[in-house]
Amino acid sequence: MRNLILILLTICLISCNQEINWTKTKSIDLGKVTPIGLTYANGNIWLADGDHNQIVEMNLEGVVQKVYEGFERPMHIDSQEDAVYIPEYGTDNISILKDGQKSVMEIQDSLDAPAGVAIYKNERAIADFYNHRILYFNGTKWMSFGEEGKARGEFYYPTDVQITKDKIYVADAYNNRAQVFDKNGTAELVIGNTDKLNAATGIYVSSKQMFLTDFENNRVLVYDLKGKLTQTIEGDFEKPTDILMIDKQIYISCYKSKELVVYSNQN
């Protein structure tokens, strides 16, 4: 009887602690497109094709809808409604692509190789790669936080950023970790620093999880929002750069294998 209770208790504990588990469902061949960044707008996926200086709009099945040329090394993009925000690494601008027309975001500061942009309501954040900092607009004014270094709150080539309701998440690429900040720029959490990442280049945060690409090791690490590693996604993909979640599926862009790998969760 005692053993039976123990077994039932164990089963209960296992099921209660069951994590969201992602399993591969398909891969979308991107042909020659070398994706760096991903976003979702107008019912389509948008990819920043860094090597070919273009933005590619495709439907969820991977059929290209339109190609927008004339962007210098577009990186980790974001979107809001029908506008796509594009950090151009080569021109130090954040471009806005809307209705096929390109404009430039006004920033009262100078960037040096913007590698990522994030949009949340009327807030903006930019990963300023060579300046080792994040520029953040809180809806009223711009501020900057971080400097070159390896300590908590410092950066070594940040490549991606995401704003949530009360946090700012940064892919601190060559410190091989993610960092979480409050909206005053105070570092609250370091994630992944013990997980042997090699170039943490892309970040995506959902309501329950944080995804971090491990570029050189061909992995995507999945954490809960407290920073606990819950899953390591590995497959035959090469050089993952970014992650995007659409309808309970995650899309992983892979620079070297030139594909979008799609995972879904069974829970």
Partner: protein, 207 residues
Amino acid sequence: MKYSIIMILAFSLFGITLNSNAQNSNKDNFEVKVDGLGCPFCAYGLEKKFKELKGIKDVKIEMETGIMNFTFPTDKGLSIEKVESQVEEAGYTPVSVVITRGNGKTETSEREVLEEVAEEAIVESAFFVAGNCGMCKARIEKAAKDVSGVLDANWNKETKDLIVSFDGSKVSQEEIENAVAKSGHDTNIATADDDIYDKLPGCCQYR
């Protein structure tokens, strides 16, 4: 690191510029094949830094082929050796350089001709070399192969081992390790100088 690269490139190229006349209507075309462009974040950044240098125009890097093209005023007489040196300073590893001068003449970097080596003199060994990525691999292997007497070199990113074969009558493993360290990569017996290490692209910094 960024500013070190910019300063070195800028000073070197400004030096060439200062000794020249004001004529700059003719341009030399440069085609440099580089190795190890695995990391777009660093490769795009280095391309950007090249573009910011005075005199260099029309910089374009094809990531798939590893071919970098740019133009430079003919009257500056930029040499193959200088180009290779600048490309290395910027973190790339040059494989070949072809210059088409303004007058149509072409110059090509010479390939090293390997001498015949007696079989009994060939030594094969493996040793640890610190590094991270494809750009590291290209740099480490070139540093080893540039040592006279080294026949082959292959660095494994996962194990960090550099497997070398060399003419033991001409060169020792210690000399090869010292040469590799001078490229910015530590071995178990040789440590790269900090100033060289600091010039490595972000993706290559392992300390």
